[in-house]
């Protein structure tokens, strides 16, 4: 350890390897067998359970919990995977506090929901250490192109392969997984789980992967439509919104998603650089993740600057608490005005904002924060030009089953309209599109 949290500027090795390993260990350690039984026993097996409705993939939660409590975690996992083949990742990354656990009747009753996420992980971990549980239906002879190997693309490819279709899975990167591999906070998915999950999922067979193919660059939608019986687009949101402030081009003013992606791919966190004073601009999950992980890497002061009030932050209460308990300072109603520095960032000037019902306005009062590093996390956008696809709200316009405006082309996940930008939503959309494609291919 050459440096410390006090070392000025942007540098690596602020913490020892042991400290880093501790900081980036499992955020929610798995339940052991006894803990799982105790947690499972709290489920009331509700009639028409609200948690099932709240889950975007509609997992039969009371059933799988009952299967855990009767000593059948493998059957529980089957119940989960039947609805959500990425149930393992979702168990780790779903903001359950705003999904299933939020509507748990025990949350209503005692403010302490059944630990659905942890129980889901308990079950899925059991089955994922065994051979892949699904078999493919007889080959249909149909071929489907899936573009983008994130959760939406993977869920779609798996369901298609299971239904007997041949799938070619394209991705611009050199690895599958999408944001599971490059985006999700490191402490939510430890020990290479994302890649293990991809391998386990693909072992159903019938899916060939082609990397380094970017739609709009070296992959053409019209050609795909000609070569395949159907196309599913799941390219996520590749573009990053700019701040549009003076000094944005200075060194060490970076996209939060790039920082996180580098962190996720790093073999040795002590080689990763981070500023002593970090300012993250944004109020969503990405902003929180960038802020928390900066802190965990050894930044001394990390400030999350959000331009609206706390109620409007996209990050859930749980995420905000995680940030503050990690030592991140959250400032609300502040907006960056310029980045100051000679070549590299040194300070950020921020202005206070208010909203009296006429939209967001600056109050005129300003202040400066020291900032060796500034992360932009104010949203991602679709990165796809002239595809001929109709858009809605900046995303590919789709109907309920994922059909786009182009015949034979479906889309789902973050790149498609409708639904929250969450892993679990992407899985649901990929799965449903696959069923619709299957229906189309077999019945026309």
């Amino acid at each position: 350890m050459v440096n410390s949290v006090l070392t000025p500027g942007v540098t690596s090795s602020r913490l020892s390897k042991d400290e880093l390993a501790g900081n980036f260990s499992d955020l929610h350690p798995p339940l052991d067998g006894h803990e799982a039984l105790v947690a499972a026993d709290r489920c009331y097996f509700c009639y028409d359970a609200p948690c099932v409705t709240a889950c975007p993939t509609s997992i039969d939660i009371p059933l799988f919990i009952r299967q855990i409590s009767t000593g059948m975690p493998e059957s529980a996992a089957k119940t989960i995977f039947d609805q959500n083949i990425l149930g393992g990742m979702c168990a780790r990354v779903c903001p359950t506090e705003t999904l299933c656990e939020q509507v748990c009747v025990r949350e209503t009753a005692e403010g302490k929901p059944v630990e659905i996420g942890l129980l889901q992980r308990f079950a899925t971990d059991r089955l994922m250490s065994e051979p892949h549980p699904y078999k493919r239906a007889a080959e249909t002879g149909k071929q489907v192109a899936v573009v983008g190997a994130g959760p939406a693309g993977l869920a779609c490819a798996h369901r298609l392969a299971m239904n007997g279709h041949g799938v070619t899975l394209y991705d611009a990167r050199n690895k599958a997984g999408g944001l599971n591999e490059f985006g999700i906070a490191a402490y939510k998915t430890v020990d290479g789980f994302a890649q293990d999950e991809v391998d386990w999922l693909l072992s159903i067979g019938g899916i060939s992967q082609v990397f380094g193919k970017r739609l709009g660059e070296n992959l053409d939608l019209d050609q795909l439509r000609k070569d395949f019986d159907a196309v599913f687009l799941a390219i996520g949101l590749g573009g990053v919104n700019a701040l549009g402030t003076e000094g944005e081009e200075k060194d060490n003013v970076d996209d939060a998603v790039n920082f996180i992606s580098e962190l996720r791919q790093s073999e040795d966190l002590s080689k990763l650089s981070v500023g002593r004073n970090v300012v993250v601009v944004g109020g969503g999950m990405t902003a929180v993740d960038a802020a928390v992980q900066s802190k965990l890497l050894g930044a001394q002061h990390v400030t999350l600057a959000y331009r609206r009030g706390q109620e409007q932050m996209n990050a859930s209460g749980f995420e905000q608490d995680l940030a503050t308990s990690s030592g991140v300072t959250i400032l609300t109603n502040v907006q960056p005005l310029k980045v100051i520095g000679n070549g590299a960032a040194q300070e950020v000037e921020l202005g206070y904002t208010k909203d009296d019902g006429n939209g967001l306005e600056l109050t005129g009062e300003t202040f400066r924060l020291p900032a060796d590093q500034v992360f932009k996390a104010i949203g991602q956008r679709l990165d796809l030009d002239d595809s001929g696809l109709e858009l809605a709200g900046g995303k590919i316009s789709v109907d309920e089953s994922g059909k786009t405006s182009l015949n034979g082309v479906w889309a789902g996940g973050d790149c498609a309209s409708g639904g929250d930008d969450l892993t679990v939503t992407a899985v649901a959309e990929g799965r449903d599109a696959a069923e619709d494609i299957h229906d189309k291919l077999m019945n026309s």
Binding site: H34, L37, V38, D41, R42, Y44, F45, C46, Y47, D48, A49, P50, V105, R106, T108, A109
Partner: protein, 435 residues
């Protein structure tokens, strides 16, 4: 402050909680620590004949069923009577009684069904200064196959005979411990009464197979691939024991026969229930085996606080207080009409009442928009199932329909007068009501 002191057939103890004859009472070391912890008395682990002690299995002896968080609900055992030398036990009993004169020390005995065997052991026990004896006619396994324990307890004539021998031989009070493994508990109790017993104690363990190992396909606890039936006890058997205690308490043929209540006593409340159904004191085994001697603190303080709240000064004051209210089904008031009522403020919308009622033939709960659950009075038969399955205490209550109002289910006015099955028009053998 309530007075917990107990006098059971002349045997005095500072409280009505005795440890039942079982492993916790097998030796002086245990019994003394139990007394230090505050137990009112013990029934010493059952003694057998002079001679080489019996042997127990050397594999597992106990099996269990559990509730949430592995809370032990039922225990099953295949253990036999004491496996220590008779004279070691007798010497220790004598020492303990001398050291703890204010505590009850009763000695459980099981010897073959021959007069000579009983005549031989009783003076030895008497010599220890013990306060009384308990005849173990209850053990359902191991000993019964040798013609002892439940083998005797299942034949009322034997009970009467052995009880008579004992009464004729010893000055000590004789408590006859009954097995629940019979069809009607009143018969063995009557036999004990006729034989001159000072009291009965019940229940001993219920014959049981607690579980089956599905890999070995053998009952558990499994010993080298085999298992045998054992005796079931603990919280799960309490309802069975309560019913049997009440049966005896009500029986006109055994009026005033003192009863020592046993079976699943785990808290002060269980004890209070046994005593109100006619038990003069209670004995505890599984709870002490599960949690240790210290639970006596909760039992005595709970019972004493409850008695204070009720204004009951002495334990004897509420013995049997619930007995007159134990009646037969045919005498229950059919004009007592209630309806379930769901308190919407405490309802957490789990829908369990709905699933239960809907799938249990009554269809008397409506599920409305927004997961609002409401009772349909036209359909509710007042079965109480929704109350039983509701996870929230007191959320669903059974409310009585005032006499004179119309029961929307039957369309009939609720009769203010008591009316039971014996005079009901639908009863073919109804006794015509007096004109």
């Amino acid at each position: 402050m309530a007075n917990l002191a107990s006098n059971f057939v002349g045997i005095k103890s500072p409280n009505p909680f005795w440890l039942a004859s079982a492993p916790p009472t097998d030796k002086a070391y245990n019994v003394e620590r139990a007394f230090e912890a505050g137990w009112g008395g013990v029934v010493w682990k059952t003694l057998g004949e002079e001679g080489p002690p019996i042997v127990n299995v050397n594999g597992p002896r106990y099996g269990a069923i559990w509730g949430a968080d592995r809370r032990l609900l039922g225990l099953n055992n295949i253990e036999l009577i004491t496996d220590r030398d008779l004279y070691v036990n007798l010497r220790e009993i004598k020492e303990v009684k001398k050291k703890w004169p204010d505590r009850a020390v009763v000695v459980s005995i099981m010897v073959p069904c021959e007069e000579g065997a009983w005549k031989k052991i009783l003076p030895l026990v008497e010599e220890t200064g013990a306060d009384g004896i308990e005849l173990n006619f209850g053990c359902p396994h191991g000993m019964s196959e040798r013609g002892m324990g439940a083998a005797v307890g299942q034949v009322p004539e034997y009970i009467e005979m052995v009880t008579r021998w004992c009464k004729a031989t010893t000055r000590m009070p004789v408590i006859v411990k009954l097995t629940p493994n019979i069809t009607d508990i009143r018969y063995p109790a009557r036999a004990a009464h006729t034989g001159g017993a000072d009291a009965v104690s019940l229940i001993n363990t219920v014959s049981s197979i607690i579980s089956v190992d599905l890999d070995d396909f053998a009952p558990q606890p499994t010993i080298d691939g085999k298992g045998s039936h054992g005796g079931y006890c603990g919280p799960a058997v309490k309802p069975i024991a309560l019913n049997m205690v009440a049966d005896i308490a009500k029986d006109p043929e055994t009026p005033g026969l003192p009863i020592s209540g046993i079976g699943g006593v785990t808290t002060w409340r269980d004890a209070a229930e046994f005593i109100s159904l006619g038990a003069g004191n209670v004995q505890v085994c599984t709870a002490a085996m599960t949690y240790g001697f210290k639970i006596i603190d909760e039992m005595t303080s709970g019972l004493s606080t409850w008695m204070d709240q009720k204004g009951i000064e002495n334990v004897a004051d509420f013995i049997g207080r619930a007995v007159p209210n134990v009646t037969d089904w045919q005498y229950l008031n059919l004009n007592y009409v209630t309806k379930a009522k769901i308190n919407q403020d405490s309802c957490i919308q789990c829908g369990r009442c709905y699933a239960a009622c809907e799938d249990t033939s009554h269809q008397a709960i409506a599920m409305k928009d927004g997961r609002v659950f409401e009772v349909i009075d036209e359909e509710c038969v007042a079965c109480n199932l929704c109350v039983n399955v509701c996870p929230v205490d007191n959320c669903i209550t059974m409310e009585r329909l005032a006499p004179g109002t119309v029961d929307p289910r039957t369309g009939q006015k609720v009769d203010a007068d008591y009316g039971n099955w014996t005079s009901h028009p639908n009863n073919p053998s109804a006794k015509a009501a007096a004109e």
